[in-house]
């Protein structure tokens, strides 16, 4: 178990270090997030629809797209110079490869969301301070769900034709469910509904995370082995 964790951390650290040194992907993802939020602002009629009504959808559509951008990167990175071969030859447990990639992806998406949330508050004038903690819980759980499935699929699609297009086509049906839960929870939070109304959605998100984390770490070795 300790060995597994150590390997997981090595993989995650390698990915994060690479990202930190180049910063191309993270900067593009952050800019992309800001742009999507801007597009949403022009994509609605502010006199007809109040920002609060649209807010949960705006927030989650933006985060879903941003997460997908980050996920495409995870294994694309390993294709250069056949780096993936090196990883697979090394005495590395396949599960720790999955968990390491998952951790790095989580960190990536978390940074994007950490910039996206304040921008969202600023652009749409939606105060979230009073529900910040539960909102962060919703974000954490939903993001974990997105990334759990996304990491598995991104390992598959890199070796297909049209990888960039393939990931959204395969992944979106899987993201719609946590997206729905997250939107429902966020809408209730922003409308100042009691927390008991949100608890059910949080439980569903947690159940989705647990199930798909288990399924993905079971299936992942089959996607990379020769």
């Amino acid at each position: 178990m300790g060995e597994l964790l150590r390997q997981t951390w090595t993989i995650a650290r390698k990915d994060l270090l690479l990202e930190f040194r180049s910063r191309t992907a993270i900067v593009s993802a952050v800019v992309f997030t800001a742009l999507v939020l801007t597009v949403f602002n022009f994509g609605r009629d502010p006199t007809a629809v109040s920002a609060l009504d649209l807010a949960p959808s705006i927030l989650w559509v933006t985060f879903t797209f941003a997460a997908m951008l980050g996920l495409n990167r995870a294994f694309q990175l390993e294709l250069e110079n056949q780096a993936i071969e090196g990883l697979l030859i090394s005495p590395l447990d396949r599960r720790s490869l999955y968990w390491g990639k998952l951790l790095a992806n989580l960190a990536f998406v978390a940074v994007v969301e950490a910039v996206g949330l304040p921008l969202f508050v600023l652009f749409f004038n939606v105060p979230v301070g009073h529900v910040l903690l539960p909102l962060l819980a919703v974000m954490a759980l939903a993001t974990l769900g997105f990334v759990a499935v996304g990491t598995l699929f991104s390992a598959m699609v890199v070796r297909t034709r049209f990888a960039e297009l393939m990931l959204p086509v395969l992944l979106l049906p899987f993201l719609l469910l946590p997206l729905t839960y997250a939107v429902q929870a966020t809408a209730r939070l922003l409308a100042d509904r009691p927390l008991s109304e949100v608890a059910g959605w949080l439980r569903l998100l947690a159940a989705y995370d647990i199930v798909f984390l288990a399924v993905a770490s079971w299936l992942f070795p089959y996607t990379v082995d020769e």
Binding site: T160, R161, P173, L177, Y208, L219
Partner: protein, 221 residues
């Protein structure tokens, strides 16, 4: 007789029987009191929906077994089941709105059940898109198995969620914990239609499987 020929015979028999089911449904089954003749589409819609679910579940099971046994026949079956399932899902998504327009007054609503069928359709299409994008046979089989298993897990989740959202869609009347709440004549027609759809599924899958086998053979020379 080859498998393709057997499959063709099954399909022909199924289609003739489907005609028979509809003669029974239109002429010898009572008209529903509130929905009128529009309810007759139910005898295609519901069996097609159940067959789609069956196709997806078998697709996932074939995936699980493939990962353990590595038998290419399982992969060919999964491929066939996905394609036939897509056809049945299209039938559900076509007959549903035709019924919905006169009864609900709208072709489509974002109701949980409609959405979940649409999910199934997208999953099946995505599955085939993935198959088309991988050239290596063994890799394709493994990827398809992984996606198939994930799809079944997702479908399970969607089913749980369906009960949490308010729905306009009629609740299940046959496959539910308590006794079927349907007059005997209608139930019999429905069950006959189930049988016919099952026959059609098997017939189509056999033909599609034969094509997949031919393809594999021609590929290996």
């Amino acid at each position: 007789m080859t498998m393709a020929q057997k499959g063709r015979w099954l399909v022909v028999t199924g289609l003739v029987l489907l005609g028979g089911v509809y003669v029974r449904a239109l002429a010898f089954t009572p008209v529903e009191r509130f929905q009128g003749p529009a309810q007759k589409i139910f005898y295609v819609h519901v069996p097609a929906a159940v067959t789609t679910e069956l196709a997806v579940i078998l697709l996932g099971l074939a995936g699980v077994f493939y990962l353990f046994l590595k038998d290419p026949r399982l992969d060919r079956f999964a491929e066939s089941s996905a394609e036939v399932g897509t056809v049945f899902a299209s039938i559900v998504l076509t007959t549903g709105p035709i019924w919905g327009k006169p009864i609900w007054g709208t072709w489509w609503t974002w109701d949980a059940r409609l959405t979940s069928t649409l999910f199934l359709f997208f999953l099946l299409v995505g599955y085939q898109v993935l198959r088309g994008a991988v050239t290596d046979g063994a890799l394709r089989a493994r990827y398809s198995a992984v996606l198939g298993i994930c799809a079944v897990v997702l479908v399970g989740f969607i089913h749980l969620s369906v009960y949490l959202f308010p729905t306009l869609h009629p609740q299940p009347i046959v496959l539910k914990p308590s006794k079927p709440s349907l007059p005997g004549a209608m139930l019999l027609t429905l069950l006959l239609s189930f049988g016919v759809f099952l026959l059609l599924y098997v017939g189509f899958v056999m033909q599609r499987y034969a094509i997949a086998t031919r393809r594999a053979e021609s590929f290996h020379g």
